[in-house]
Amino acid sequence: MNENKPLSAEFTKGLLKENPVLVMLLGMCPTLAVTTMASNAIGMGLATTFVLVCSNFVISLLKGIIPKAVRLPCFIVIIAGFVTLISFIMQRFLPGLYESLGVFLTLITVNCIILGRAEAFASKNKVLPSVLDGLGMGLGFTLALFVMGSLREIFGAGSWFGIKLPGLSNEPMLIFIMPAGGFFVLGCVIAAVGKIARKKPPKEISCENCPSAAVCGRDKSKCTADAPAKGAAESEASK
């Protein structure tokens, strides 16, 4: 990471330029699963932001203490702890949201954005930049979810935050809130953001934004995502 970068840049980069969902293509599962309603999308986004900020904070504090060899299990335990905490808070104060997010609240634990940021940023940077990075990435994730949720709810249910919209609520296009609509809307949103923000389409998943980079340590010979046949052949040859 660039040492001279102002702190505000750590915060703002996650919002659009390095948006975790729309540009880096991480955390697709919750993006597709909970965005049938705008309010669910915001709830999921904020829950993830909370976990991301807390885990980045703790991991950057502990970065000198955690041995490198067992860092991934350590990170996962820290993250899982905060996920348990947020699900308690939500169960108590927002039981409706807790019910509708269901299993995906637990699955924040394995959201690649959180482990990815822990590995790529928090374990290498000081506390304050890590917290800001977490906040920015979390809000970028919330923003992406909110856009997806709004589009799907407006077209699929004819309402927005549960308020019926005149003209659309008579004949909603149900397909938008079905699984197929989720894939379709996400594809269109990614294409639109690519067009507006960078004038070129997002690249295929490479090591830079691969969800598994944390696990394989960017070891090309282990890579299955980028060039599966080549990776397999190389690892066989190396044995």
Partner: protein, 191 residues
């Protein structure tokens, strides 16, 4: 027996883990470029899911006994992470051919949310041990089916003329939407 078959068919077709429940999308988009890697990844996922369920079920009973079920998420993810490491080591030593076939895919599985998802779902649904194993197998098979089907579709996308803006991931996602649409035909099936 009938119950077990119903659970498996439901998991594979009616509630396909990738195309209608949105779990394991990262692996689905990352590894489905070629048929060979799809089959490899699918096999590894089936194996890990069944074994992880066999491990987490007794762990949950232990948690229940001490009334600390709120530690479920932490306990399950640790069990899965440890388990994946363990089979990697054991397989390397005792079953080199299987390790060669699945080895490269194993580290990717810890972060596959479908594995944690299926172990949690088994508890939430209140399945017995046998039913949990059946559900884990069905879910793994569903993941494999989705990957294999989609790798065929992706091979066609590679050759087609796509507008510049939609090249790459957007086109892949829209193709996934169409594949998902085909699974909607099973949605109303009551078993």
């Amino acid at each position: 027996m009938k119950e077990i078959i119903i659970i498996i068919v439901t998991a594979v077709f009616v509630n396909n883990v990738v195309l209608s429940q949105f779990m394991g999308i990262c692996a689905f988009l990352g590894v489905s470029k070629q048929l060979k890697s799809s089959v490899g990844m699918g096999g590894a996922v089936i194996f890990v899911m069944v074994c992880a369920t066999a491990c987490t079920y007794p762990v949950y009973m232990l948690l229940e006994k001490f009334e600390i079920t709120y530690l479920r998420t932490v306990a399950f993810i640790l069990v899965i992470a440890m388990f994946v490491q363990l089979i990697e080591i054991v397989m390397k030593k005792t079953m080199p051919p299987l390790y060669k076939a699945l080895g490269v895919y194993l580290p990717l599985i810890t972060t596959n949310c479908a594995v944690l998802g299926v172990t949690v779902a088994n508890i939430d649904e209140g399945y017995s041990f046998g039913q949990s194993i059946a559900n884990a197998f069905g879910t793994g098979a569903a993941f494999t089916l989705a990957l294999v089907l989609f790798s065929g579709v992706r091979a066609r996308i590679a050759d087609s003329d796509i507008p510049e803006t939609f090249k790459g991931v957007p086109a892949t996602l829209i193709a996934a939407a169409i594949v998902s649409l085909s699974f909607m035909g099973f949605a109303g099936m009551a078993l």
